[in-house]
Symmetry: C2
Subunit: 398 residues, 2 copies
Amino acid sequence: MTALVAGAGGTGAGEIFQLLRDGRPRTRAELAQLTGLARSTIGARIDALADVGLVGAVADGVSTGGRPPRRVALLPEARLVLAVDVGASHVRLALTDLLGRVLRTRGEAVDVATGPQHVLGRVLDVATALLEDAGRSPRHVLAVGVGLPGPVHFETGRPSRPPIMPGWDGFDVPGWFREHLAAPVLVDNDVNIMALGEHSTLEEPVEHFLFVKVATGVGAGIISGGLLQRGAQGIAGDIGHVRVTRGEGVLCQCGNEGCLEALASGPAVAAALRRQGIDARTAGDVVALVDAGDLAAVQAVRQAGRDLGEVLAASISFLNPSVIAIGGRMAAAGEHLLAGVREVVYQRAVPLATQHLQIVTSRATDRAALLGAGMLAIQHVLSPAGVEALAAGARTPG
Amino acid sequence: MTALVAGAGGTGAGEIFQLLRDGRPRTRAELAQLTGLARSTIGARIDALADVGLVGAVADGVSTGGRPPRRVALLPEARLVLAVDVGASHVRLALTDLLGRVLRTRGEAVDVATGPQHVLGRVLDVATALLEDAGRSPRHVLAVGVGLPGPVHFETGRPSRPPIMPGWDGFDVPGWFREHLAAPVLVDNDVNIMALGEHSTLEEPVEHFLFVKVATGVGAGIISGGLLQRGAQGIAGDIGHVRVTRGEGVLCQCGNEGCLEALASGPAVAAALRRQGIDARTAGDVVALVDAGDLAAVQAVRQAGRDLGEVLAASISFLNPSVIAIGGRMAAAGEHLLAGVREVVYQRAVPLATQHLQIVTSRATDRAALLGAGMLAIQHVLSPAGVEALAAGARTPG
């Protein structure tokens, strides 16, 4: 409710900004007419937005004679967000403008198991180098979006019992950044971040979208009603341990049997190939064999696709998405994985749901996480409440 | 975006109303301070809301000496919504105030297969009688919410290939009402409506909620991020045809095998009992046998619960809800059904998701649909855009 109207003591700048967010220049008179606010109020709010560098006066291309009215517009590159993708064995960073365009990237090999102090220290060093390269100061960074390779409690930004991240459980990631950087920090798991990134690359707006990552594990990021859905404990989309029919007797690391991950993940497919005497350990090995035309590998990947298809058929009954994008290292096996998925989905799911459904491989591929971390930061900072907080913070007392 | 600020020509009344929606009386000065709007603007917007009967002056209980400032507040009973629950063999209607409280109900037996003209004609007659009983006129009705026993394209309010509703496919339900009533009409399927109704009876606000109806069919209504999720074609939650492991070789009406509905619906459980020589046809028969302590019926219901539990375990991985409510006629078998559900859910779903999960039987039971149809109408008409439209419509030109 407070986001709808300026709260007591608020500047109301957040609302004005939403009008300017489309990038179109407008005069103060136009803004007054659009909002019903007084010219003096508009002036004060524009000043607040200009103080924090979000909007500025733009040159008027079309002169109609006389002194042209001054127009204001979003300045997409005046301020930036920092996107951080922490993987099992790497960190990658990007500086992104306020429209989500990546300006510059930098990464390095870091083992996530070396713990949060070390990994985030490396992130900060890379960020500093990135800003220097770009000739920008930390003051230009409005927010930081971070993706981590494990479950995260989104509201607090703390990892929640992450299996491959020793030392990270409950670590206050935003708190750590706060000692080094003034900008707000948003943290989420890698699959949610990738879903946001992939979603931002779709040609048309999609309200109901599913991103599935198939790699060492299997997980999904869900966008319903245009919004990323995290669920009550932030673990919506954790589909790796849904049971599949072929799984009877197949034990999973989690202690249950028949989990999707125990059948369709990279290591699971590699294990199936080893049982046929073929040397394979990782998703990468499997993809290499498929690329080399190994028939057993092609068949194993297709079967993994069918198992995944069974779970996706159920997800379609629950969520009725219009696009499902499949990413992660196993997606590099391309059409063989998708053929298995499609075979089962079109047989199992309701025709009304599959009639207009697109099932595609990720287009963003290894850029998905960085794009998504940027989107997470932008969505936060450019929301009415986010802009309001910025504009209020910039006003000097007296 | 236009909901955030008053659009060109808009009254801005929608925003002011959101502040008053909590029912607390406020002075014009307080509203001016909360919104930053000019006193004259506040006055005009309050007048517009008063014109349509949404707000009014209220007596001030506490006098602090001198002339007390006049306060305005939401008038919950000045305007009403009409809730309509169309079932396979009945119509039930309620008049509901703007806080969702049911003022008066009325129903009658009508076969939905007699077609839309006849059924909606009965609905209109019952509505007229309800209004007369209540001493109200159709002008007091701000919106109508309708639940139908089949898939509905929500945006247009037209049924979409409903299996048990001959003559209804593609029928323009809102258009039919428009010829008889000025208020906007919202139409959705019965399970979504029941989810809204059950959700409104929860003691605490729940952001991620699943309502499951188990009766002649099996379906779910999904609330994620506080909003009902309908999916791309409006069929999110259509879980009756998700495959369950016990289902190998069990044929479903849909042509597939192993569908949840073919194992756990009322008729499916009754059929299983008939194979044991027990006379049962419907969900009602099954519940009666369970109530009479029939051991075979208790065991069959518990097994149906396990099958349902398998699908719900998957739904928990997708959606991570904090409450799952089970309704529909089979829910009257109570703890036996739930015991089967819990047995599988706690074994299969991730512990982090089940730790704080509540699985309950419907509290709203047969009121769920009417409550939900009322909520659907209220949510529409009291949204900022809805109030805006009302207030704009009430202003006489000149």
